[in-house]
Structure formats: structure tokens, C-alpha cells
Symmetry: C2
Subunit: 475 residues, 2 copies
């Protein structure tokens, strides 16, 4: 009997790998070590829990420990892998009970995820200041924004929850105003969520637009959508400091001090790679663990997947770090199959992403930024069009903005964005498919997309954009 | 100065060609002959006018004669081209005023469209029996279903409308029950429209399911959607005869005579090719005019486009006849460019189509039917899955059924269908793009589609289907 498949981290990538491996190699052992108490939760659902769209925190769990057990995966919560010895093929584990032991592995998957960065801001020990990067934070925010007498502890109905932290936050006076520091996904989603909870929300974005990876057109419309619901959006407004000793009192922005009784910092995340410090493992883009098309790191029999690992970009062909949920699930599943003896590619990434801001839906794919496209060796040309989401006469037709970016020499589609209020976000999958198929804009223009008045005009917004960009490329 | 570009038929294909030609070749003449009074209307919008979702018939006009004039296209309504002499490069024209003349052409586009067939049923001269294939029929149906004292003639606010026919129908007692004969697009859309108008609607479908080109899964769910709103759906129920001398009284179905005071027959359409009878032009699939990748017929300098012409199918590579709006617009536009001196492909078709039935959205693409796939030389394998349209915890997540068909030997995606109530139809464009890119199911499974809880679960329904079908292909 060979040594077990050891998985570090029991979230999307780790448990996808363990589950697939268990099905494909029923006779080999698989152990999943998780340093905390939470497993397999829907990170992306936390803002919707805070908003109140999702009633119970337990709804956000993809798999319970019991279900993992039923899959015959040896899950060890409260077990932190603190060292890897790739030569001896052994990990060192510390438990929350204070035990420490070594464990040999046949294959190892590092799926340690990422964590929220706070930039220059220290949110620890400051009441009312949060990041949103785990379920305990979501529970604490939910508790903090509730009036003490209206707090419903039943919402955070998962035994793993840090109840003491939630209760402490619930006991504080409810905030009235919140500074959301950073206008990325988390910032936009939290702005909506806390508006729904009745707060006066201000979003501070360092650069000129929200959601920089989505481009200016999307950023502008998302700003409009937030402002239409009462959110104050401050662009070109770098926050310099959070102010407050025990409890948040204000933020300093551009020389001004603005009072707030809550702050949520969403300025980025970074990959958790410390476990492999000193092993000589190769890192790549964004400081993530560099892997090949099978998810293998530069260390023998050591794989990495999910938010701590790179993946190959479909447009540039280079390893890139764009941590997203599907990437983690897919890579984990592929590695589970590979380790079980069925070599499976982890797949490319195209940076496909979508975000909601009240009734606005925004999405992006591929290379949108001209500078990034030029760095990758392309000569980017782009056009933005506004087109109807349905036939003009059909009720509910809504203006949909589509931006497409292509390479001037080859006409290849490099990326695009879509924003609107009617079925805008799912339309990005058409572009994602075209990007992954290396289509030219001329080929996109000739795609036989569905036309039916309630869902799309004769020329879908994607086709309108392709037609216009193709005209520019022909000039 | 060369002879003009003559266009026969001033609807989607004809006016797209004339408009593009005019822009690209401003110094050459273009004449568009239209035998009737209507031009460039949104055929697909007629059911929604009847339903009352669209207030005014004029909303369905894409271009008014005045706008065509502004484009400097020489539009002649009431001019029927009755003969083509391809050797002399000349057409013979008859006007509604009784004039008859010949006109030389440099290039000729036949864009004569298609017409509703009625099978064994004669709806002419029978009050209350209709087909729905032009705006006069839509106006007549709208008038017929209105109570005489509630009829609003302002709805049919286009001068071209056959007012006498509309007024005559308006004066008749309003019907209470309608037999919709045929359960294709028109049948399904008319069933919804007339339910909205308060009628007791029965749909009779010859075969075992509605919407045969969409496959059984879609047919079944569309039947459910119609029945949930009170429509009686009768499958395996071929109508044998319409009964009634002056006014419709009943239909004969399977030996039974069932009373109705209205009937709408939607049993198919056929291409209008009679103009080229005797010219020796090659016909193709469905009796449509066979054209090449530039829209050229077998006659020199004679093009055909739209519902009267074939187009090359992206999966089979063969000319096929699937008359749809985008195909007509795209081919017309391409031919306009080609005739102007810029050779442009008319593009492939993938049979991409979508239809709405109350809250159900259905769509299809490519080869779905196993028999058709086998005839085209493939070994078809298919799977159908039911998956969520959003993350399970997100409000509004709806069951979405996806069917994928692939070729066993190569794994190539041949076609698919999607049906559901939440953003189901537009998802077909992902599959259309994959079909046109000749992707395998394994490649579809690895697509980096957008994940965001309000719009899609981690594994989009399309990815779930690809995963399951890929598993079957691997066995």
C-alpha cells in the first residue's frame, strides 16, 4: 500500500481533489488537513448573507463534515500542516490540541487558498473594522450591523462559527455609516449588502474607477448603479488611514478626516504560500505557486491548486494568478484524477468573472487592459458599443454596453466586458468561449447566436460590438 | 455606368443588402422591388403584438419607407418581379397599377422570403381561421379577438395595413376558444399570446412533443409551462380538418369533432422560389435556392438570401435550410458588400434558435436529433442534466435542463438545448460558439465560464452537462 494522498486545505480545490481521487482510486488513502474549523464554504456568497438575501449561514456550506465523511475522505479539522519536507515526502502537522506529528505522503496537494490583505490598515483589535475573507468575519459583520435587540443569532447557524466574536459584535451599538475601502468585487458587493441593511455607505476607490479589471465602461455603469441606490462612490480617493483606537471613528482620505462607525477593507488578497517557504518551490505571477498544465509544482509529487496557485492564461499562454472559484474546483478535480492515475489537464483560465451591483450585471473576460495586452505582445484595438438586450419593441429591452479588445495584426479576440441590467452577465460566456477558441473578431461577427425578441435583438449586443470592432480593424 | 443592383423583396435580407451596398458603392444604383406595401417588419414580433406586450404595430417596423429613402435606396413598393431572364440579365416587373416593364440588372438578389403553408387546411375564405405570416394577418387576428366595442384600431397604426380586413374582423363577435394547429414556434407563441387575450387555448401537435427541433426535454418543459397557464396541449393529435363554411366552427382531431370559434394554423413555411422557375437554378435543402459561401446561386450574378435560400450548416458542412432572422440579415449584408466589390462570406448557420413560453425560456443549436446526426455521418451520444441557474443558496435559482449531443468517435460537440426559467435562453450562445468552433465536449467542460452566485453556480449548467456527457464518452 502506497503512502496516502495528502491534501492541505479543505475548501474548494482541496475537497474537489479528495472527492475525485476517492471515486477514482477507492483503494488508496486520502487525508485532508484543515487548520481551522470551516470547510468547503461558498466564499462568494458571504455578501449575500450579509445583505439578507440568504437567510442562513448553513446555506453557504457546500459540504458538511458529515458529507465529507460519507465520501470516505479522512478529514482532519484543527490540523495545520506547518512544514513540508519534499525530499523525505513528509509533512509536519500541528493540531489545535497542541499535538505535533509527521505524516508521509505519496502525493501532496497544497490548497491553502489566499487571505485578505489590508494594505497599510490594521483592522485587528479595532471594533467595527473588518475584512471579509472568511465566515467568521461574515458572522461578525452581520452581528455588528444589527441593532443589539434585533440581532438574530440563528442566522449564523453553523457550529464552526466564532460565536464569541459574533456575540461581542452583536452587543455593540449598530453603525449608521460605513466606509468601504476598495472598490473591487468585495467592495461593490459589500456596498450593496450594507445598503440593504440600511447603512449609509461610502465606497473609496484609489483609482479613477471601480472594478479596474472590468475596464472603465463597466466601472462607470457600476458606479451609476450604486449611486442610484444611495451609495456614495468616491473615486481617485485613496484612503490613508483608519482612525480609531478601540472602535473605528473615521477614515482619512486625501487630507480629509471623515467620520464613520464602520469600515470594511477590501483591497486585495494574497496567496498563502508560506507553507512551502524554504523548499525551493518556484513561485509565479502574484507570488502564487507556479504549476504546470497538470497542476504540478516544481517539487516532485507536490501539486497546488486554487487561490494559492497559478494557472495558464488562455490568451497569453503564460501562467497567471487570477484566483476564482471555478478555477479552484476544476483544478482540484483534475488533480484528484491525475493522482489517481488518470492524467487530466487542470484547464486554462480566461479571467472570466461577473459581479452584481443592485440591478446592474457586469462581466469581463480575457485581456481588457491595453497595457497588459501590449505587454503580452499584442497590438490592442478596442471598441465599446451600447446595444439593446432585446428587440427594441419588446418590453424590458435594456441598454447593454459591450467592449471588445482585439489584436490588430491577427484580428484575434483578446477579451471583452459586458454591463447592463438585462441578462448581461451570462452573455460573457459567449465571449469566454470565443476567447478560448482563439476566434477572430470576424469569426465572432459571423456567429449564429440566438435571436428571439424577448431575449435578444436580431444582432445580439456581442455581434454589434464585433461588427463595429471589425470595421475598425478593416480600416 | 453599369446596370443597377436589383433586389427582389424589401425585408430583412433585401434591405440589409441594399443598405450595405449603398454605403460601400455610393456611385452605383440599387433598386429594391417589393410586391406588397410592407417592408422590413419584425416578423418575430407579431405574436407579442397580438399578446398586447407591444402596443403599436409601428413599433415592429425596423425601417420606414422614408428611412429607406434617406438611405438613397430606390425602393419600389407595389412592384412584383414576375420573371428573371438570367441570360439577358433582365427582370420583368408588374406593378399593382397594372404596368409591366423589363429592367436590366448588373447583379440580382432574390430575397423573396417564405410563406406559411397550411397543409391540408384551407384558411382562405373561412372567417376566424388564420395563418400568421404577415402583418395584415397579425392586424386581423388582433381585431378578431377583440370584443367589437373594445377594438382599438389605433393599435394597427401603419398605413400599409389592410384596414378593410381588420375592420371586418373587428366587427365579428369575439371568439372564446381557439385551436392552435401545430406546436412549433408560431404555435407556442400564439398560444401564449391568445391566452393573454383571454381565450381558452388548445394546441394540437401531430407528434409526441411540441417544438420537435428542440428535442423532447424542451418540448416537455414547454408543455408544462403552457399548461401551467391554462393552455390545453394535445400531443400525438393530428388535426384532420377545419370545419366551418363561412366561419370556423370546429376542428376534427383523431375522429373527434371539437368546437372552436377560432383557429390559427402554424404547420410550417416554404421558400418562395417560383420566381426562378424555369431558369434552371439549382435548389437545395427544403426546396430553397441553393447558394454558395458568398450567397451566389447557380445562375451568374444572381444571389439569394434569407428565407428563400440555403446556408451552410456549421456542423454538417452542407447547405441547409433553416430560415431565421439573423441568417437573413447577415447574408443580405454580406451580399451587399460582395456586390459592392468587397467579397464577404455570408457565414455559417448553426440552427441556433430560442423561444419563450410564458416564464419558460428554451433554446437549441446544432444537431440535436440522433437520426439527423447519424445521417450526417456522426455517431451521436447525448446526455441531459438538470442543474441550477444560480448558486443554490441564491434566491431565484431555477432548474435548468441542458442536453448535449456529441460524436462518439471524436468527442465533438454536435448540438444542444437549454430550457429553464432563469436566463436559460441566452446560455445557448455559449454552445453556439462552441459548436461553431468545432470544440469537443472535453474542451467545453474546461471552459472558464463566469461564476457569480446571482448569475451562475460554480459549475454552470452547460459545464455540468459537458462533465456528464464527457463521462459517458469516456466509458
Amino acid at each position: 500500500m502506497s503512502d496516502p494522498f495528502v491534501v492541505v486545505g479543505a475548501d474548494a480545490a482541496g475537497l474537489s481533489a479528495a472527492s475525485k481521487f476517492r471515486r477514482e482510486a477507492p483503494d488508496r488513502d486520502v487525508i485532508a488537513y484543515e487548520k481551522g474549523r470551516w470547510i468547503s464554504y461558498a466564499y462568494c456568497g458571504m455578501p449575500y448573507f450579509i445583505a439578507g438575501y440568504v437567510d442562513r449561514m448553513s446555506d453557504l456550506l457546500s459540504l458538511s463534515p458529515g458529507e465529507v465523511d460519507e465520501r470516505e475522505i479522512d478529514l482532519r479539522r484543527g490540523h495545520e500542516v506547518v512544514a513540508v519536507d519534499p525530499d523525505a515526502k513528509r509533512v509536519t502537522v500541528e493540531t489545535t490540541e497542541g499535538d505535533r506529528f509527521d505524516r508521509a505522503y505519496g502525493d501532496l496537494l497544497v490548497a491553502t487558498g489566499a487571505r485578505a490583505t489590508t494594505g497599510p490598515f490594521d483592522v485587528r483589535g479595532v471594533d467595527g473594522a473588518f475584512t471579509l475573507h472568511n465566515m467568521d468575519a461574515a458572522a461578525a459583520i452581520d452581528a455588528y450591523v444589527a441593532e443589539p435587540d434585533a440581532y438574530d443569532p440563528e442566522r449564523a447557524d453553523v457550529s464552526a462559527v466564532d460565536r464569541e466574536r459574533a456575540d461581542r459584535n452583536a452587543a455593540m451599538p449598530a453603525p449608521e455609516t460605513v466606509a468601504v475601502v476598495g472598490g473591487g468585487y468585495v467592495g461593490v458587493e459589500v456596498a450593496e449588502a450594507l445598503t440593504e441593511r440600511g447603512l449609509d455607505v461610502h465606497v473609496f476607490q484609489r483609482s479613477g474607477h471601480l472594478l479596474p479589471p472590468f475596464g472603465e465602461t463597466v466601472g462607470g455603469r457600476v458606479e451609476d448603479a450604486l449611486e442610484a441606490e444611495g451609495v456614495a462612490v468616491h473615486t481617485d480617493s485613496p484612503v490613508e488611514a483608519l482612525v480609531g483606537d478601540d472602535r473605528i471613528e473615521a477614515v482619512d482620505v486625501d487630507g480629509d478626516r471623515i467620520s464613520f462607525d464602520m469600515a470594511v477593507v477590501g483591497v486585495g488578497i494574497r496567496p498563502n504560500t508560506e507553507l512551502l517557504d524554504g523548499t525551493g518551490v518556484e513561485l509565479g505571477s502574484g507570488g502564487a505557486i507556479r504549476v504546470d498544465d497538470r497542476g504540478r509544482t516544481s517539487l516532485p509529487d507536490v501539486y497546488a491548486a486554487g487561490d494559492c496557485a497559478t494557472a495558464r492564461h488562455a490568451v497569453t499562454g503564460d501562467p497567471d494568478w487570477i484566483p476564482l472559484g471555478l478555477t479552484a474546483n476544476r483544478a482540484g478535480r483534475a488533480i484528484g484524477a491525475t493522482v489517481a492515475g488518470d492524467p487530466t489537464p487542470v484547464g486554462h483560465i480566461a479571467g472570466t468573472a461577473a459581479v452584481k451591483a443592485f440591478d446592474a450585471e457586469a462581466a469581463r473576460v480575457g485581456l481588457l487592459d491595453h497595457e497588459a495586452a501590449a505587454e503580452a505582445g499584442f497590438d490592442p484595438v478596442s471598441e465599446t458599443v451600447t446595444a439593446g438586450s432585446r428587440s427594441g419593441y419588446y418590453p424590458g429591452a435594456a441598454e447593454t454596453d459591450v467592449t471588445l479588445v482585439a489584436d490588430r495584426d491577427t484580428g484575434r479576440l483578446l477579451g471583452g466586458s459586458i454591463v447592463g441590467t438585462d441578462r448581461a452577465a451570462v452573455r460573457i460566456d459567449t465571449l469566454a468561449t470565443a476567447v478560448e477558441a482563439d476566434m477572430t473578431v470576424a469569426e465572432v461577427e459571423r456567429l449564429d447566436l440566438a435571436y428571439a425578441p424577448p431575449f435578444s435583438p436580431v444582432w445580439d449586443p456581442v455581434l454589434v460590438a464585433a461588427k463595429v470592432l471589425n470595421g475598425t480593424l478593416d480600416d
